[in-house]
């Protein structure tokens, strides 16, 4: 099994590199980083533009630029932005902001999604099942930027009714905030609720749909009946034999759900003014900055890699047939 996981890991690393290379190339071909400089009024002297062009190595072939950038990345230097800010300086904070959002969203989404799915499968065609189905249909049809705005709307109403600001919807922390660490934690928590909810709702709906049909498949199976015939209680049979089997397809789904999550993260960060990686991507495209975009792509690729590899591990843990 270790061989299998290592092979997968090697495959993912290659995918990651190629993905970053593609994004880098695409960005180099479509972006025009000098556009902002050229638009300036009065126009800057030709020598300034020429210096910038040399700085950004715009005359060198793209693969060569990629190799230079990548060799910097290996040493921990992600290059600088068009405006000469070092990317590495900002990277850590932004990664932290995004990871906090993604991790909480994933944990909440996967666990609640599985629970909702299992419950609606076990209680098929009851009210709870219909409600969960309707809920997930509705959420899956509502893009994250609408969910986010509606959540903001709801929070505004809530704050108005209560009279104090219970939930914040801009930024990840209050810049003028002062107090002890408990109060600081609470402050962050109040900023965290809405964005996490915005990102988790989709995940819950997405996973619960799959979990429900996977669980339904298992519920009618012979081995579950056999387990009960041998004297296991229904609950025990459901959890020990049913749920474990029904979780197997979830493991493979997990890797794909992550792409969805990242895209949702871009919208969430923008709407709630979190300066994370998703926000950086939009900023990078707007500023036509190749290095920022390549850095974000690398981050996303690594995340998808980790989640893909994790889902392989989960798969191997859940399905004994893979392990032989």
């Amino acid at each position: 099994m270790a061989g299998f996981l290592l092979r997968r890991l090697a495959n993912y690393v290659v995918l990651c590199l190629v993905a970053t290379f593609l994004a880098f190339t695409l960005a180099s071909l479509t972006f025009d980083p000098l556009a902002k400089l050229n638009e300036r009024n009065p126009p800057p002297p030709a020598s300034t533009i020429e210096a910038k062009r040399r700085d950004l190595r715009l005359d060198e072939p793209v693969p060569q630029r990629f190799v230079i950038w990548m060799s910097g990345v290996v040493r921990g230097d992600f290059g600088s932005t068009v405006t000469d800010q070092p990317i590495s300086a900002e990277l850590g904070r932004r990664v932290g902001v995004s990871l906090r959002l993604f991790l909480l969203g994933t944990i909440l989404g996967v666990s609640l999604g599985v629970v909702v799915g299992v419950v609606s499968a076990v209680r098929q065609y009851r009210f709870s099942d219909y409600f969960a189905t309707l809920f997930s249909f509705l959420v899956l049809s509502t893009p994250v930027f609408l969910v986010g705005t509606l959540l903001k709307f709801g929070a505004l109403r809530l704050n108005e009714t209560v009279g104090v600001t219970v939930l914040y919807f801009t930024g990840e922390t209050d810049p003028s905030f002062q107090g002890g660490w408990i109060a600081a934690l609470l402050d962050r928590l109040r900023h965290l609720v809405l964005p996490t909810l915005a990102i988790a709702l989709h995940q819950i709906a997405y996973y619960s749909r799959y979990q429900r049909s996977a669980m339904l498949d298992v519920l009618g199976s012979d081995f579950l009946r056999t387990a009960q015939a041998k004297g296991l209680t229904r609950r025990k049979a459901l959890f020990k034999h049913g749920l474990r089997t029904a979780l197997i397809p979830m493991a493979t789904l997990f890797a794909f759900g992550f792409g969805l999550l990242v895209t949702g993260g871009v919208f969430t960060e923008r709407i709630f003014s979190w300066f994370g990686m998703g926000d950086w991507l939009v900023y990078g495209v707007e500023q036509q900055d190749t290095n920022i975009v390549a850095t974000v792509t690398l981050f996303v690729a690594v995340l998808v890699l980790v989640s893909g590899w994790l889902s392989d591990v989960l798969y191997a843990a859940l399905d004994p047939r893979v392990r032989v």
Partner: protein, 358 residues
């Protein structure tokens, strides 16, 4: 969906393919063609029917309303700025006096058109790539599936947003091509799995031994045998395409002004969402309605075309699952070729190849 399956016909038994004959027995004395059978199953699903009617009326509304609406989408009413809904501005007006109803309809037109085009093109692409990979196997298969993996690592949102400066100021059709180019991977995986089993069937072998070219075999024998799956997936992909388009347009990476889509409308409306909610609520509502009805139709089509796609049917289910099925579950881990099980027409379904609950 109410195929009258007997209770004994439960899951796990690989021959759960009795859907066709049993259904035919519902109404004896009259020949039931497959088309009529599918239609009847579809009509029984109330939500799918509602979705179908909703989509039809959305299309009609989007394209016909300019004929009778009082205002044009570019016209400005200098007597009414930021007016709430009412009067002859049915959905209110914007800061510069544009009619929100006319704009929403215009955006709906664009979003619906893009969604339909992208859904159809990407599914066609998926069937070609998937069938090629599955039919030839070996290196072709490995390279194509590696490409699929690569595109899954790079979210399409990311690629298209990076590419967006290139089509700024160009036709929106370029945007359609990009969306289609990056929306076919999951379907292609499923098609590949089905092709691998279809390849071993007698009619494909016969065609091959008669000397037909691979392209002809794929187009004439393999792809038509997956028509059910492709129709379902095309529908689901339309919904996904509408979401992708509006998402990209929301950031200005998609449909560019002066063109409007539901995404750009929501983006402009969101800025003033709290004080002038009508500017974004209507566009948002239409967007949700569109995607929701497309998903319902996809769900109903799945029940009607592919009643064996779920093995576990204990009682008479009316509807089963959301826009994407578990049978369509993408298989990331190597050992899950089972997720792409062959589910052709109910009567001629081959032996069950799925290994999970068997």
């Amino acid at each position: 969906m109410s195929v009258t399956l007997k209770d004994t016909d439960s899951a796990g038994t690989s021959g759960a393919a009795a859907g066709g004959p049993v259904d035919a027995a519902v109404e004896p004395g009259r020949t039931l063609t497959r088309g009529r059978l599918v239609l009847r199953r579809f009509l029984r699903n109330r939500l799918a029917l509602v979705g179908m009617v909703a989509i039809a009326s959305l299309y009609a509304m989007a394209f016909l309303s300019p004929l009778f609406a009082p205002w044009d989408h570019q016209q400005q009413d200098y007597t009414a700025f930021l007016r709430p809904p009412g009067g002859n501005h049915w959905f209110g007006t914007t800061q510069i006096g544009e009619d929100v109803f006319a704009q929403t309809m215009r955006g709906l037109q664009k979003s619906l058109t893009i969604g339909l085009l992208v859904g159809v093109i990407s599914t066609a692409l998926a069937s070609l790539v998937g069938a090629t990979a599955g039919y030839f196997g070996g290196w072709v298969d490995r390279i194509l599936m590696w490409l699929v993996d690569l595109l899954l690592v790079l979210p399409s949102f990311l690629i298209i947003s990076i590419a967006s400066p290139a089509f700024r100021g160009k036709s929106w059709l370029l945007f359609v091509v990009l969306l289609a180019l990056f929306g076919w991977m999951i379907t292609a995986r499923i098609v590949r799995g089905m092709t691998m089993t279809l390849k071993e069937r007698e009619f494909v072998k016969a065609a091959r031994f008669m000397g037909q070219s691979p392209l002809r075999i794929i187009l004439r024998h393999i792809v038509p045998n997956m028509a059910s799956l492709l129709i379902i997936d095309a529908t689901v992909n339309v919904g996904a395409a509408v979401l992708a388009e509006t998402g990209l347009s929301y950031f200005g990476f998609g449909v560019q002004p002066p063109d409007v889509s539901l995404g750009t409308l929501i983006a402009t409306g969101t800025r003033a969402a709290f004080t002038f909610p009508w500017m974004f609520l209507f566009a948002g509502g239409f967007l949700v309605l569109t995607v929701l009805s497309v998903n319902w139709v996809g769900d109903g089509l799945r029940d009607a075309l592919d009643p064996t796609s779920t093995r576990a049917r204990r009682r008479e289910p009316r509807r089963r699952r959301a826009g994407a099925t578990a049978s369509a579950a993408p298989s990331a881990a190597p050992a899950t070729t089972s997720s792409a099980k062959p589910s052709t027409t109910p009567s001629d379904r081959p032996q069950s190849t799925d290994g999970s609950a068997g």
